[in-house]
């Protein structure tokens, strides 16, 4: 089976079959990471560009390592802040890089929909590495892979996403991906950080963390951006930690084999206590490894699959 699409923009438009294919491919690629020589020649001669308009350590490194393991050539461009008022427009940057022979763009951008704009602008493949408050599909897929490895299913799992749902692209990708695979997705956060009409998405909405965690199989803890406090979304870090911080105590209402995930970087002691972050339920470093596997799988399916008919 091939992936019949040019770009990976979000999990909202993806079918369960496509996600299953990506996850299966990731599982088979993960084996490469345990080899003494972590190098395969599949993407030799392919050129991958990571174009990041926002800071990122793990996502960018993960994509670059994935590409290098697959023997692709990588170029990384960082644009500090937005290029709107200075320098080259996004469109011109894309066209310039494409003219240099880039086969696949990995794009992170603070403005939602920017990868869609890029996908319409260039013939090369585009993978969304996080756009504004919209989606972060590779994070969604790596979270799903981590859940699958530990629970061996999605159907009927109670997955709770806790924190700043409004501004989170991770939350949106998790909601679409997991709900399509049959999980029971719950979101929980301060009412000021729940976006309008979130209940119209396939989720159950909570503002009471205890109720949300009741019987949970998985807890995905989102990073709280401290600058939200200044904009009046919540009164203090102290109160946020009291109401929504995940501590050992809080986890008592969950299933005994609950899985605790965090997309990183963590604010230890705020949204997650150190005991939980380093504790028996946490799979946070596994997520990072799975991120590499998922990104290798996507690069393979888009660039090296041999018969991707949607390829440019």
């Amino acid at each position: 089976m091939q992936l019949q699409r040019k770009d990976i923009l979000g999990l909202q438009e993806m079918t369960p079959e496509e996600m299953r294919l990506i996850l299966d491919t990731a599982i088979s690629h993960k084996e490469i990471l345990s080899r003494p020589v972590k190098k395969v020649p599949i993407l030799r001669g392919k050129s991958v560009c990571t174009l990041f308009y926002e800071n990122s350590t793990r996502t960018r490194t993960s994509f670059e390592l994935a590409a290098k393991i697959m023997s692709a050539d990588t170029t990384s461009i960082s644009v500090a802040g937005s290029a709107i008022n200075k320098g080259e427009s996004f469109k011109d940057t894309l066209l310039t890089l494409e003219a240099m022979g880039i086969d696949l763009f990995v794009i992170r951008h603070g403005a939602s929909g920017s990868p869609h704009f890029a996908a319409r602008t260039v013939k090369a493949h585009v993978i969304n590495a996080g756009d504004g408050m919209h989606e972060h599909p590779t994070q969604g897929l790596l979270d799903m892979l981590t859940i699958l490895e530990n629970k061996e299913r999605f159907d009927g799992l109670k997955v709770v996403i806790v924190g700043d749902i409004m501004h989170s692209r991770v939350a949106r990708s998790n909601i679409w991906g997991l709900s399509k695979m049959g999980a029971d997705v719950r979101v929980c956060g301060p009412s000021t950080l729940l976006p309008a009409e979130i209940e119209k998405l396939p989720v159950t909405v909570f503002t009471d963390l205890g109720a949300a965690l009741d019987g949970a199989d998985v807890v995905n803890v989102l990073r709280i951006q401290l600058e939200r406090m200044d904009r009046g979304f919540f009164p203090s870090v102290r109160e946020y930690a009291r109401l929504f911080g995940i501590s050992k105590d809080r986890l008592r209402g969950c299933k005994p084999d609950v899985l605790v995930m965090h997309p990183g970087p963590m604010n230890r002691g705020i949204e997650i206590s150190p005991e939980v972050a380093d504790g028996e339920f946490a799979v946070i470093t596994d997520q990072v490894t799975n991120g590499l596997a998922v990104r290798m799988a996507l690069l393979y399916l888009l660039l090296g699959g041999g018969g991707n008919v949607a390829a440019a």
């Binding site: 469109k91 929909g113 504004g132 989606e135 009409e197 979130i198």
Partner: protein
């Protein structure tokens, strides 16, 4: 010189006329309905009949293209209406001539069936003093249609210091407006309205509480949540509508609410009208033709302010057009250059062009489904804005200046931005197949659009 528009369906809502007949125009003025031609014509022109499957229906001269000073236009099957008035247009000149000029806006207006357009004051420099008012009116004199201007409520549209309203009115501005830069201070707005009431001009207001819309991109709701776009809550509009209504009651100023987009704003205006407060309002074709789902592909051409709303709002707007709560239809024609729109959605400019799609959208989405009659729709684009602005236009009365729009209500059109006369290509209606078209536009007895312009 005379022009006889023969055998058309003459609709003149200013006088309650809707009948088939001949309209005679002599020396730039309306002579009357069913007056005989004063002599032998030197040319007779028949419009091509609209054929299903043929997208365009354009009037083509049957005879010579030479100067026609005694001309009969066969309007059989067509509607002959007073020239349409668009009371909400961004001319962009002075300052943004890369987006539009007064001349090109006027050509777009003529192509769309409008004979009078009212410019908004958010130019650069702002239209906030006599000199700029005179500049716009002087340039407008050479344009294809009648160009009117509003004056800014505050100097530089900064909301802090009142502009010289009296001097601008004296120079020919017909209204005062805070469009695009809504006055945030209630106290400042109170003073502006009190002051403007001395001159008996309406104040046209863009209603937006900016404290709720910082960096906002689209309507707050499930679509914004899914797309991850900064929401523009409907309450930001209605709060300001309510504030301005209360200030109109306090000051006695004539208040006109621009581009109404929400059901709650309509309810507020209905309440104010019932109470006898001097308030009128307009909406644009975009607000009864599209919802915020138009943003689902991150189409920057669908990013407008106020934003596209929901299905329920569209229904409320249609009901308010039908029951008369909404007085006028105006386009908020907001041309932008390609580079203003070919960017990330969050950074794209607000606005869409409207002059050349208004008539087909009104006929397709209001008249054909029976929301309003053709006569009612024409009233909202002619006599209603004329009365709001207290201008002599929007009528086919004997002796009136002969501004006339000829409409083929059955023409099939496909929207093609590349064919626009406007410099702006920013329309979310590209490729839409619509019904109805202005096939000829007559300004002061002269055909300015419709295939007859050459040789005039």
């Amino acid at each position: 010189m005379w022009l006889l528009l023969s055998n058309g369906r003459i609709i003149d809502p200013s006088r309650g006329i809707d009948k088939v007949g001949d309209l005679l125009i002599e020396d730039g003025r309306i002579s009357g309905i069913d007056c005989p031609a004063p002599g032998e014509p030197d040319s007779e022109i028949r419009p091509s009949v609209s054929v299903p499957g043929e997208p365009d229906s354009e009037i083509r001269p049957s005879g010579s293209a030479e100067i026609r000073s005694r001309c009969i236009i066969d309007c059989t099957g067509l509607v002959v209406a007073p020239g349409l008035i668009d009371m909400h247009v961004h001319l962009r000149e002075p300052g943004f001539e890369n987006k539009e000029t007064i001349a090109t806006a006027a050509k777009a207006a003529a192509a769309g069936g409008f004979t009078t357009i009212l410019g908004m004051p958010n130019t650069k420099p702002a239209i906030d003093n006599r000199a700029v008012v005179e500049y716009v009116l002087n340039v407008g004199k050479c344009a294809d249609v009648n160009v009117l201007t509003s004056g800014a409520a505050t100097k530089g549209n900064d909301g802090a210091e009142m502009a010289e309203i009296g001097d601008m009115i004296d120079a020919g501005a017909v209204a005062i407006s805070d469009d695009a830069f809504p006055v945030q201070s209630a106290d400042m707005m109170r003073r502006v309205m009190e002051y403007a009431s001395m001159f008996d001009v309406p104040i046209l207001t863009h209603c937006e509480d900016k404290s709720m819309t910082l960096d906002s991109v689209m309507n707050e709701g499930v679509n914004a949540t899914i797309l991850g776009l900064k929401p523009w809550p409907r309450q930001a509009e209605t709060l300001m509508v309510l504030r301005n209504i209360l200030l109109a009651e306090l000051t006695g100023c004539k208040l006109h609410i621009q581009h109404v987009s929400t059901a709650e704003s309509i309810a507020a205006i209905r309440w104010a009208k019932d109470k006898g407060i001097k308030v009128t309002c307009e909406t644009g074709p975009q607000y009864f033709s599209l919802t915020d789902a138009a943003l689902n592909t991150y189409d920057t051409n669908a990013k407008i302010n106020p934003p596209l709303r929901t299905e329920a709002d569209v229904d409320a707007i249609k009901a308010a057009l039908a029951d008369g709560t909404i007085d006028a239809i105006a386009t908020d024609h907001a041309p932008h250059s390609l580079e203003d729109k070919q960017v990330e959605l969050a950074y794209a400019a607000f606005g869409m062009v409207g002059l050349e799609t208004a008539v087909p959208l009104v006929i397709t989405n209001l008249v054909k489904p029976g929301v309003v009659t053709l006569s009612e729709a024409i009233a909202k684009m002619t006599v209603a804005p004329a009365r709001i602005l207290s201008i002599e236009a929007g009528t086919l009365a004997d002796g009136a200046v002969a501004d006339v729009t000829i409409i083929d209500p059955e023409a099939k059109v496909t929207v093609r931005a590349a064919e626009f006369k406007s410099m702006g290509r920013n329309t979310p209606f590209e490729g839409f197949e619509l019904t109805g078209k202005a096939v000829a536009t007559v300004v002061a007895g002269k055909v300015v659009s419709g295939g007859l312009e050459a040789g005039d």
